[in-house]
Amino acid sequence: MILTVGGLTTALGGVLVLTFGIVIGRPDVVAYSLPVLLTAAWAVLRRDRVGLQARIRSRAGRTEAGEVRGVVEIDSGAESVLARVSAHGYRARVVLLAGGARRRVPVSVLLARTGVHRVFRLDSIAESAGGLLVSPPLQTGPISIAVHPVPRPLRTLPLPHRLTGLTGNHTSRRTGDGYEMRDVHEFGPGDRLKRIDWRVSARRALDTRTGRLGTLYARRTFATADATVMIVVDSRDDVGPDVSTWAGGSEIRKDAATSLDLARQAAASIARHHLDGGDRVGLDDLGRRRRPVRPAAGRHQWQRISQRLLRVAPEGWPSARERPPVLPTGALVVVCSTFLDDEAARMSRLWRAHGHEVIAIDTLPPLDLTQLELGHDIAYRLVMLQRRRRLRELRGAGVAVVPWDSGAGTTLHALARSHRQRAGR
């Protein structure tokens, strides 16, 4: 334990005043010093157990954007514990807690950001003997917490032009085993007996004179198939709503979602919707040269995509790609990007030229221009002008551009309907 200068000065002052009072024979001066001396004596008599242990835990289970919670555990037998709980990007809270027992203090922050974040650092000091003695400061944390995006419920989403496979929840244009009626056709090789439509056969091919059936007719259905969706996230930039932070040097607020957070949410929402529908979904990252998550269906694939999305983050400035990443044939490509530079738009156009159905999800958040300084607004306007031109070119190339805002679900639903009408499904 460390003896504090302030506490020691006060205690010595008390002794001095007591001595002074006795020497000059003034009982009021002697009594005046008693609160100081009795407080010190009381603290000494308490015989607090010194020592301090602390740790921080995150709450069990999946953490989603919003309120991120943790628990601070402090174990000290001292009279009180001075605790400072902080997190990067947040105002710290300092509290003087009662000691003497194991304490559990729930802590939380409002976090609009997703991904892996380091939060909740605890600096603590145990105080004993009325603040006369303190323990050495103890630092605990920060702890890493994986914050998942909250998937947005979507009604219907566009499907790729070409559905693949022999099973799935979608109806393809091929004839085969399925549920939707295609037509009634003459029975031929390969048709199953159970497919024979006896009523139609009787109506069309029954010879009333002989009472014998001529040609048999069978019901044919559209084959079922599954859709392959490839989600491509552009992690090369992560810009916040405040445009003055785009150049770097100032911090992006933690209570406002950035472009990458919106990209994670868009990717998670679209992946969740398609996986729930039994489709095959894969994930690739334009910013990192690593193996993509291959398209697959099922709950484990959702876990795989969810984990990969958590770790999507800007990593330096990767060199421009010569060729776009190879995607499965006939896949629907969903590109989540801010389109602040040419790379994502160029890739989208190339995929469209290769015959993929491409949807560009614009993940630029609603912008705040109030902090822009003189001159920066001109740069901002030039950047946005280029971006508008880029998006116009994309639309011209047949890529559907959907801003990821509150109306994104409706826009995607309308897009899905128009695709379905065009495909005759």
Binding site: T9, I22, D28, Y32, T39, S86, L96, A98, V107, R253
Partner: protein, 180 residues
């Protein structure tokens, strides 16, 4: 808007950063403890020394400057004031209480920023302890005045008290060495 206007225009203030939230059963802000202490100190001084500028200044100092050394300084100043004026029971009792309020305020809030929190449980415990100590101190004030009124002066008592204090200091030093 001219270029000069734009240059002179200050950027709007950005929103304050969000704060970490603690879920405590009960807590009082440090500024509230300091303000209450300042008011109590001002009121106490106003009753005893009857000079409102001094009372106000000391009260403001307690409310704004909760430094650990503040209690020590006020202790010495109060002792000097008491020694200068003729003995009076009311003055001694109120000044003793005022000093204790400052001690308690400094103890609870000197290491906290104004927005810091003092847990209610600790505050309750500290107040209960302070009440017991204050009762003992006020009892000592009464006893002291009664002893002076009843008993003749005893010069040898001073020497004995100083010796006792010296022994107590040695004991305190040994205690601290054992603990530190």
């Amino acid at each position: 808007m001219s270029v000069l206007d734009r240059l002179l225009r200050l950027p709007p203030r950005s929103r304050p950063r969000p704060a970490v939230r603690l879920e405590l059963e009960g807590a009082v802000p440090a500024w509230a403890v300091r303000v209450v202490s300042g008011v109590l100190v001002s009121a106490g001084l106003l009753v005893t020394i009857e000079q409102w500028p001094v009372a106000l200044l000391v009260g403001l100092t307690v409310a704004l400057l909760a430094h650990p050394g503040l209690a020590g300084v006020l202790l010495l100043l109060g002792a000097a004031l008491l020694a200068q004026l003729p003995p009076e029971l009311m003055r001694a009792a109120v000044l003793t209480a005022v000093l204790h309020v400052v001690l308690l305020s400094v103890r609870l809030t000197s290491r906290l920023p104004a927005t810091g929190l003092v847990e209610t449980r600790l505050l309750r415990h500290a107040l209960a302890t302070a009440l017991v100590i204050q009762l003992v101190a006020q009892g000592a004030v009464l006893l002291g005045f009664a002893a002076v009124a009843v008993m003749p002066p005893m010069p040898w008592l001073a020497a004995l008290s100083v010796a006792a204090l010296f022994a107590a200091s040695l004991a305190a030093l040994r205690w601290w060495r054992r603990r530190a």
